[in-house]
Symmetry: C2
Subunit: 215 residues, 2 copies
C-alpha cells in the first residue's frame, strides 16, 4: 500500500471556511456513538435530540457524560434535564437512522420531535423521562453535574444510570452487550452513518503475553 | 421482529460482580473511537496508550478531549502530557488493532510501548511528541486544561489541535475525512473491535423537509 500523508498546519486550519473546517475537525476524533436524548420540560412536554458525544465515565458508580453547546439546538434538552433532573439515552439503529437524524432540525419548543419525526415515546413504570420505543437499548439517567468548558463554552453533562432497558438477546454471559447485534450505528464526522462488522474481541492485555482473541 | 426488552434496575446493577458490571456499563455508551496517545516524558522517553474516550469538543478553536483515570495504566500518559504540554492522537486501523490493544498492558515506565508492541514512532518537523507511523490519521495537540470529575476521580483532558497528518486520499472536497476508507476501527464495550460499512450520509436537517441523502 502506498500512502501519501498530507500535513495540515494549524495556520491552514485557521484559514479554512467555517463549514469546511467543521467537516474536517468533526472527522478527526474517530467513530462516534449515536444516541437520542429524551427529556420533558416542567410542563411535561417531550423533547428528543440526537447526540454523538456520549462517553462512558465509569462503571461504579455507573456514570455517563455528553458534550453539548449551550446555545445550540440542544439547549431545550439541557434546560429540561436541569429542570427535571432526568433524561434518557437511546441507541440509534439503522432501522430509524433517518428519523433520528431529523431530530437535529430546529423545531420550536412546543413541537415534540417524537411526533415531528415519527418516533414513539415509551415510559417505564419508575422513570419520568421518555424513552424511544424503537430503540433496543435505552438508559435512564439522573443529572448529577455539568462542567462548563470555558475554552469554547461547551458543557460536559454528567448523568448517573438509574435503569437500563435492553433487548435481552444481545446481553452476553460476561455482562457485555452485543450492540452490533442490536443494529446500533456509528457516526463519522457530522453526517455519515455506519453499520459495523465485528473484527474480533481481544483478551485483557498483559506484558510478555502476545495479543490473543477472547473466548 | 419480536423483541424481548429486559429491565435492569440500579439496585441490580449495584449487586453485579465488578468484572460483569464493567463489561455491562462499558457497553452502554455505544460505539467508541479508538486512538493511540503518544507522549514523551521530560527525559524524552516515549509512551503509547490506547484510549476509547476521545471526543470532539469544537472546531473553532479546534479542540478535542479524552477521559482518563488518574490512577490507571494511562497515568504515564497524563503525567507526560502535563510535563511537556504535547501529545498525539493516532487513529487505529484494522491492520494493527492487536498491537494497539497490547499497549494497554501494564508496562514499566522505562519500557516504550512502541518497542514492546511493534509500532513505529514518527516525528514531524515541528512537533515534539511521537506519532504512530502505521496510523493513517495523526493529530498533534497541545494540552490546554484538565477538568477533574470529582464524582469518580476521572479527568477530562482537553487539547488544542496544532497539526494533522492524514492519508490524502481520504480527504473529501467538503472538508470531511472518509475514516472508513482509512480502515479506522470502532470499539464496543471493553474489548470488541469493529470495522464499519457506510449506510449513508444525510443532509443538514430542517423542519418541514424530510431526511434526504447528501450529495
Amino acid at each position: 500500500m502506498t500512502r501519501k500523508i498530507k500535513a495540515v498546519s494549524r495556520s491552514y486550519i485557521d484559514t479554512m471556511e467555517p463549514g469546511f473546517r467543521a467537516q474536517f475537525i468533526n472527522s478527526l476524533s474517530g467513530f462516534k456513538s449515536v444516541n437520542l436524548v429524551g427529556t420533558c420540560d416542567a410542563q411535561g412536554r417531550e423533547n428528543l435530540a440526537i447526540v454523538s458525544s456520549v462517553v462512558h465515565l465509569g462503571a461504579n458508580p455507573p456514570l455517563m457524560a455528553m458534550v453539548t453547546r449551550p446555545r445550540s439546538v440542544e439547549r431545550h434538552t439541557v434546560e429540561n434535564l436541569m429542570a427535571t433532573s432526568f433524561f434518557t439515552l437511546n441507541h440509534v439503529s439503522s432501522a430509524f437512522v433517518e428519523a433520528a437524524h431529523q431530530t437535529s432540525a430546529r423545531y420550536a419548543r412546543d413541537q415534540s420531535e417524537f411526533a415531528q419525526v415519527g418516533l414513539t415515546p415509551w415510559y417505564s413504570e419508575a422513570f419520568p423521562a421518555p424513552y424511544v420505543a424503537e430503540s433496543a437499548l435505552r438508559i435512564g439517567l439522573r443529572w448529577r453535574e455539568s462542567k462548563l468548558i470555558e475554552l469554547n463554552d461547551t458543557e460536559l453533562i454528567i448523568g448517573e444510570i438509574d435503569e437500563v432497558h435492553l433487548d435481552s438477546m444481545a446481553w452476553r454471559e460476561d455482562g457485555s452487550v452485543d450492540i452490533e447485534a442490536l443494529g446500533s450505528v456509528a457516526l463519522s464526522g457530522l453526517d455519515s452513518y455506519h453499520t459495523t462488522q465485528r473484527l474480533r474481541r481481544l483478551a485483557y492485555a498483559k506484558p510478555g503475553l502476545p495479543p490473543r482473541p477472547l473466548g
